[in-house]
């Protein structure tokens, strides 16, 4: 008689951050094997592009990652702009960076809240949502939307930022580091928290590279790969910031990296706000987006999203519709590596390790 219990976690489970299904084999409470099953949230976002015009597809890309709509938006716009050979005005690029960095903070805040929820602490979630709420309100004021912004357009952004709005951003940026240090006070050195994260879910640099894990998860494994630094897109080469890296390779390291990333995002936002206050200019290259025809060619844009490298491959055939769009998202690879790093751990730690990877299911299934 075998002592192995097969347990099916998900797709409806309170803590898999969406509809992930894990077929797990347990010996007692020790995990023997995990098999992730993805695809429950597949919406065919790549295929949808092929029978829509470029403009019609634009609002859909926000839905790929509902916590980082600006990143996907940017990746797609960047592709189209590149194929159109259009130069995006400086001010528009700075506004885009501002949005993306605020979005990164919001995304990491939500991760922090849900990660702590996975570990069984319910309060941090509400504090994270308190701060995230401020960012979402800022976005709402700027774009009219709290989640699916549809704010970036080909050649720029839809609306200009006002000085009052920038002042609000500065206010938030002044207050926010205090909030981060508040979180750190209660979380970082908490013995229960360190007990559950230090040396749990070890993702070595080699394994991470083999599974092409990117983003904070890779940087927590000691690999200094940040596409904002290594392949600067937009105006990141003009901005001064330090990407967060550490060599701990465990859940704790991933936590530290994300906390440090929020801090470096704050630095970037500060610089961008200063630039936007001092310089005026166009916010759009005035491309006529209706009936837009893109000349034949292909391009891949790289964006460092909050969940790793985000690539958008676009192939145009000269018509009004994309010939092929392909997305590469960070979460997909993070899910694949889970069986490797959660082998032979206690069932109790599985969800904690999974939570530390920051997986968003719509991004996996697309």
């Amino acid at each position: 008689m075998s002592n192995i219990m097969k347990i099916n976690i998900g797709p409806q489970h309170p803590s898999t951050h969406g509809v992930l299904r894990l077929i797990t084999e347990l010996d007692g409470e020790e995990i023997i094997s995990i098999e992730p099953v993805v695809g429950y949230l597949h919406r065919g976002l790549e295929k949808l592009a092929e029978n829509r015009s470029y403009l019609q597809y634009l609002p859909m890309v926000d839905r790929i990652d509902y916590l980082g709509g600006f990143f996907t938006s940017y990746a797609y716009c960047n592709c189209v702009e590149h194929l159109l050979n259009c130069v995006v005005p400086k001010r528009a690029e700075y506004i885009r960076v501002l949005c993306m960095e605020l979005n990164r903070i919001a995304s990491h805040l939500l991760w922090l809240g849900t990660f702590m929820l996975d570990l069984g602490a319910s309060s941090p979630l509400f504090y994270c949502f308190r701060d995230r709420e401020i960012i979402l309100s800022l976005f709402e004021e700027l774009t009219g939307q709290r989640m699916m912004y549809n704010y970036f357009v080909f050649g720029g952004v839809r609306f200009d930022v006002t000085n009052e709005w920038l002042n609000k951003v500065s206010d938030f940026i002044v207050k926010f580091p205090q909030c981060i240090s508040d979180y750190e006070k209660i979380i970082t050195k908490n013995p229960i928290f360190t007990d559950r994260t230090v040396n749990k879910g070890i993702l070595s640099k080699n394994v991470a590279l083999q599974y092409s894990v990117t983003g904070p998860n890779l940087r927590a494994s000691g690999m200094d790969l940040d596409f904002r630094k290594s392949n600067p897109y937009s105006v990141y080469d003009k901005l001064d910031f330090v990407p967060a890296v550490n060599h701990l390779c465990d859940s704790y390291g991933r936590y530290l990296v994300r906390i440090a990333e929020m801090k470096s995002s704050v630095d970037i936002v500060k610089q961008v706000v200063r630039y936007l206050k001092e310089n005026n200019g166009d916010i759009s290259a005035n491309i006529k987006a209706i009936n837009l025809k893109v000349q034949e060619g292909e391009y891949t844009s790289y964006v460092e999203s909050s969940r790793g490298l985000l690539c958008c491959y676009l192939r145009a055939d000269g018509s009004g519709k994309p010939y092929r769009v392909k997305w590469r998202t960070g979460s997909y690879y993070a899910v694949q590596v889970l069986p490797q790093i959660a082998k032979n751990v206690n069932y109790n730690d599985l969800i904690a390790i999974f939570g530390s990877l920051d997986v968003i299911m719509p991004e996996v299934d697309k």
């Binding site: 929820l117 996975d118 570990l119 602490a121 319910s122 309060s123 308190r130 007990d195 206690n346 969800i351």
Partner: protein
């Protein structure tokens, strides 16, 4: 208790009902009182928990039903009673149905053992503290039955965790109780309370010589109650709802009721052991100041004692809720290690310490 008995017999005799009938039916009276108290306290506690957690997480908590949401739990209770009892396929029907009752009955007995004041002790045994401890572990059997009979793997894991947890946290409790027995030379709860009677009020309470014991006991009680950070048996992020995953309607309500009833009765137990039970914080009973010339002074004092016990218990419950709002959940391994390697040796040390103190203070006379 005798007051109540004589009052009841008198009451029946007024209607010419024989004394024998009164003798037989008298036990129903404390039963009804306790049942009523449990319902009332649970309603208050659930609301309090939600309000307190709301307070700690910058929310309002329930505030729609009734003034300040005071009717929220009543509405919840009505809802849960109207819900369908779902029978799970493949479950052991008998055990499945009997488990909620088994979990509730011991808790009700515990309420009867607690001395609420000098007079209101529904069951007064010479070894009531020992009886209390031995009955307090009974619900775990029901929890294991519930988990086993549910035909659900999450329930099973939760139940096994609960069993292991209670067994390991029961031993330190016994050792601390032993040191209290040494301090007060009794294992009767009422005698333990009276042994803390001191002309300097607070200074006579057991938590001063036995503070280490109080900390150990407090932690163990959290584990006994399956409260955070020891809420592994019902860890919602891993086990959905643990042992009561498959329960709904009235059966779930019984689990829920037992959990909160247990919360109060356990903190009352702690208050009795360490914080003078129903003794007042002030030097004299407040009633003695106000009603000193009234002939019902004694009755007022009895009710005031109940007030003190409830007040202290609620303060302790507030602390337990504060712990819940602050800490993440322990991992299974460190849960066991903490009990066997930290709490158990410490509780033995505490016992020796108390014995030495008692020996010295009592002048070589245990």
């Amino acid at each position: 208790m005798n007051y109540l008995y004589f009052w009841y017999i008198q009451f029946l005799q007024n209607y010419n009902i024989p004394k024998l009938f009164g003798d037989i039916t008298f036990p129903l009276l404390p039963f009804c009182i306790i049942a009523g108290m449990i319902i009332l306290f649970v309603l208050v506690l659930v609301l309090m928990e939600r309000k307190v957690l709301g307070l700690f997480t910058q929310r309002k908590g329930p505030n729609r039903v009734g003034i300040w949401g005071i009717l929220q739990t009543v509405a919840d209770a009505i809802k849960i009673l109207c819900k369908q009892n779902i029978d799970v396929q493949g479950s052991d029907k008998f055990l499945f149905n009997v488990a909620p009752i088994l979990v509730f009955v011991p808790v009700m007995i515990l309420w009867g053992i607690i001395p609420y004041s000098t007079e209101f002790t529904f069951m007064n045994f010479s070894v009531s503290a020992l009886l209390y401890i031995s009955i307090a572990v009974l619900p775990v059997i029901a929890i294991i039955l519930a988990g086993y009979s549910s035909n659900n793997k999450y329930s099973l894991i939760g139940a096994i965790r609960s069993g292991a947890q209670i067994i390991s946290y029961e031993l330190p409790i016994m050792f601390v109780l032993l040191s209290i027995a040494v301090l007060s030379s009794s294992v009767n709860l009422k005698d333990i309370v009276f042994s803390q009677l001191n002309s300097y009020s607070v200074l006579g309470w057991h938590f001063i010589p036995c503070f280490l014991g109080f900390l150990i006991m407090f932690i163990c009680i959290l584990a006994e109650l399956n409260r955070c950070p020891f809420d592994l048996p019902e860890a919602e992020s891993e086990l959905v709802a643990g042992y009561n995953t498959e329960y709904s309607g009235m059966r779930f309500a019984l689990f829920f009721l037992a959990e909160y009833a247990n919360l109060f009765v356990m903190s009352a137990f702690l208050v009795i052991l360490f914080f003078g039970g129903f003794l007042p914080v002030t030097f004299k009973y407040i009633s003695e100041y106000i009603f000193s010339d009234s002939q019902f002074l004694q009755v007022f004092i009895y009710f005031e004692q109940v007030f003190w016990l409830i007040l202290k218990s609620f303060l302790l419950i507030f602390v337990i809720m504060l712990v819940r709002a602050t800490l993440p959940r322990l991992s299974v391994k460190s849960l066991m290690q903490f009990s066997w390697f930290v709490l158990l040796p410490l509780s033995m040390l505490n016992f020796i310490l108390i014995a030495v103190i008692k020996f010295c203070v009592g002048g070589g006379n245990l």
